[in-house]
Chain length 527, copies 2
């Protein structure tokens, strides 16, 4: 009897979970992008949803867990191809070329690096078994990092509502596709390194960059667009591909990002990657404890960059020797010959747990958004050495908040690094500023992970979020900017003026002619 | 020993509450506006903050509880003056005047009604004891409904950060002051009754109304501005008064409001007034149970409107007799002689609890935002009889969502009311639409009350939210719209064109003159 009751109780408890459980397709982006999406996928699985991550057989990060289902498909490249592709991409960013050659080289390297991911998407759509599986699985929604367009193409191909999870497109597409105004006067464009407080010529630069954006973004996505058009059997534009997102989960927090207009279907989950502090592994605990009153400095150029040219490494090593702190440097390449005693090279480090340690005095980072949010969450002032992508803009944002100092990795000398590091460690204002940012960031009504999970579940449950879609999507450019209304009102005003003028002239003429006629007889009389 | 431990434990539990507790000044708006702010004030008090509501000795709603401290000040009017003032205001809205006389009459009545509230503010600043109390109390922040400007003036006078709690200003000031773009092409202005999907001429109307807004808003606030300038001892503009809000707690939810751009310091707490369902008082329970299979209709024109002209009341009574439902009508005036048997007049009704009852088939409402959100929360289709203020726009919004029907209270006949009521009760689409709105509205990551409380506490704790203030506040109109940048770029383009043209002409001239010289000798030879 007790067993029966117990079973009945379990059954009752299970019903809501099963009836609420949905089926989610995840189309991720490999590399560091996956790091913040992974906890969302794991939590959704934990909450009883059937979550399937569709991933290439060859990848850096995706698929190395059993916490969720991974559906792989064969690809036409190897992991060495992936590594070489990224190495070539990085190498261009470490070459000291003059402007505009550097910009052109970086742009070309981005387009080239993109090719391998496009090939991945083509491989997916070529694989009949995967396609059949996707078509027959009856998913409720797609969760994707849309930067490579493959997830957006799949969601359109399967006619499923989508949730976009990302930091942003390089050319403001996440705002444009969401119909969100971006005032050029205080919303700086990516790659300008401007803040939200711009001089006149910075605003001119911002306007020029915004004019160039459609050109370079189209160049970047040209082939991907052609492929999506082929898959969807109709011509699609960039905006077509991205304007159907039900919810934009943006890894933003305005303690770090510049304040600007947003849209109601944008949900801000910046800091989602900040994990709870876990105890340090023994070997790291020992190093930290041995660091004495000076504490430690954490140094990592991110999960993707393991080594840098030897000359740079030597310069950095030289500078690190000038501080009394113990420096934990994540570095896979050959050890610099001048490595000082206070620097420990490690192949991997528990970054968040080290940053959370009270003995950590500074964080030397490449300025990737994940690392920056970990720095903010744990209130550690930063020295930033941006390498590629949005990193220079991120670094400038932290600098503009007074919470760190930025170095140009191509031009920095050993002295520059040493000065910057000493400043963020010893000048109290950096610690105070990052502490304030941290307090503001962590004082939130709901954790970003719960927020992200809520909105993915919302889209799965309600088959999208059409009530958050602005009517602006149904307007053309002229209507959106009210140019037709302005033209009409101007025409009315001008016509009214013209008619009034004509009436006045007519009246004047009548008066004059009357006067004239009235005078003529007088004249005649006077004659 | 046990008692000691217990006391120590209580003490430990109390410490965070006391140390976290702040001091909040609340400057409310009387009438229905207070209904949704009250739970926030109560919850903040519950959470250990010292909350002081500063209110006039004479008021409709504020101060009738012991859940928080009320600091009253004497005023120069009586409650009868308040009642008469509102009665005059309402009477104008029930007069059937032709356009534009009706608009002018309504505008004048609003300005007139505003005077008594301005007098209230003047009484506050005249009362030395109250002023001294405010100056010496060391508040952390001000929570206010800013529509009457008194709360904004006090927060500026005391140099305190402020949280604005409201539905919105009549002339888009809540967007303008927050530097939020309002595209005229799909963000309809109040009093146009347009939706976000407008025809060309509706967009023209929207543009014209937006041009008129500064005029009528200035007229409305002229005297209040002069008074604020006197108090603050400097000339202040409307935007000066409202652009310093740290957080805008807007009673918005996009299942009901039209989707449009917003700002990061806007927090949406629509539906905050929907209380949890409580059991019905016995007399109402009996009426509802006796209604049989047909159920009931809830009818209220809001907490402010207790009676309407007898002719209207008779028309309505006549229509209510045409449905088989029992109608619970909140009505204080003289009973219409033709009151049908199925209609029960009551002086007060538990609106939310009645709407939450499964036997409720429809809700006849004036379209105040509180009632509408209760209708949405409880998924009851509505017949809307808007009277004044934003009610017509609210009603049109519900109608555009297919969740109700709007009647013009001046023109409606008994037949119109009957047809509309029967439609929302019997046509399933209204129930389905409001059910969908309700599901979307209630599927939120955090309750609006908790969200409001969080952000008030945030502002108290961090002395504002300067990280959410856009840099646009530091730009003038020309800079904000990049007009200087456009002029500069145009000048550069024109100058470049001019120089290119001059160069071309110069080259052409040189070529021609060379040819001319080359030809001349030939000509000479031929001669």
């Amino acid at each position: 009897m007790t067993l029966r009751l117990c079973c009945a109780w379990i059954f009752i408890l299970l019903i809501p979970s099963l009836s609420d459980g949905g089926k989610l397709l995840v189309v991720p982006m490999d590399g560091s992008h996956w790091l913040s999406m992974k906890p969302v996928v794991e939590k959704l699985t934990e909450r009883g949803h059937e979550v399937v991550v569709v991933a290439p057989e060859v990848s850096w990060q995706v698929g190395k867990t059993e916490a969720y289902t991974v559906k792989t498909y064969p690809v036409s490249y190897t992991v060495e191809d992936l590594d070489n592709n990224f190495r070539d991409y990085l190498a261009v960013h470490l070459k000291d070329l003059p402007f505009p050659l550097n910009t052109l080289a970086m742009y070309n390297s981005s387009v080239h690096a993109f090719h391998i991911f496009l090939a991945q998407c083509k491989d997916l759509f070529r694989n009949k078994e995967t396609l059949q599986y996707l078509n027959q699985s009856g998913f409720d929604a797609v969760l994707t990092d849309p930067i490579l367009m493959c997830g957006a193409t799949i969601s359109k191909y399967l006619a499923l509502p989508s949730v976009f999870f990302m930091r942003g497109f390089p050319c403001n597409l996440h705002y444009e596709a969401a119909q969100c105004p971006s005032p050029l006067s205080y919303a700086p464009r990516l790659f300008t390194f401007n803040s939200d407080r711009m001089t006149f010529f910075q605003r001119v630069e911002n306007a020029l960059v915004s004019l160039l954006e459609p050109v370079y973004c189209y160049g970047f996505y040209k082939e991907a667009l052609a492929f999506s058009s082929e898959v969807l059997q109709r011509d699609v534009s960039l905006l077509d591909m991205f304007n159907s997102a039900s919810i934009w989960l943006l890894r933003y927090d305005f303690v770090f990002e510049y304040v600007r207009p947003v849209m109601p279907n944008m949900v801000f989950i910046g800091g989602i990657n900040c994990a709870e502090k876990k105890p340090l592994p023994k070997e790291f605990e020992a190093i930290v404890n041995a660091s004495g009153e000076h504490g430690i400095v954490v140094f990592s150029l991110g999960s993707m960059v393991s080594e840098i040219p030897m000359k740079k490494a030597e310069e950095i090593a030289d500078a690190l020797g000038s501080v009394p702190q113990t420096v934990l440097w994540r570095y896979v390449g050959k050890s610099p010959h001048n490595l000082p005693k206070n620097v420990k090279l490690v192949k991997w480090l528990p970054q968040n747990d080290l940053l959370a340690h009270p003995k950590t005095r500074a964080f030397i980072t490449h300025g990737g958004s994940h690392g920056i949010y970990e720095g903010i969450c744990n209130a550690v002032p930063m020295v930033l050495m941006p390498l590629f992508g949005d990193q220079m803009d991120n670094a400038k944002q932290i600098e503009s908040r007074g919470a760190g100092l930025t170095l140009n990795i191509l031009e920095m000398t050993s002295q520059d690094i040493s000065t910057a590091l000493k400043a963020v460690i010893n000048d109290k204002k950096y610690k105070e500023n990052i502490k304030r940012l941290s307090e503001l960031h962590l004082d939130r009504p709901i954790h970003p992970l719960d927020l992200a999970v809520h909105w993915v579940e919302f889209v799965m449950k309600h088959k999208g979020a059409p009530h958050l879609r602005p009517a602006a999507h149904d307007l053309n450019w002229i209507q959106y900017h009210s140019l037709d209304v302005i033209a009409f009102l101007l025409a009315v005003v001008l016509l009214s003026l013209f008619i009034s003028l004509k009436c006045c002239l007519f009246c004047c003429r009548r008066c004059c002619s009357k006067k004239g006629r009235a005078r003529k007889p007088t004249k005649a009389k006077s004659h």
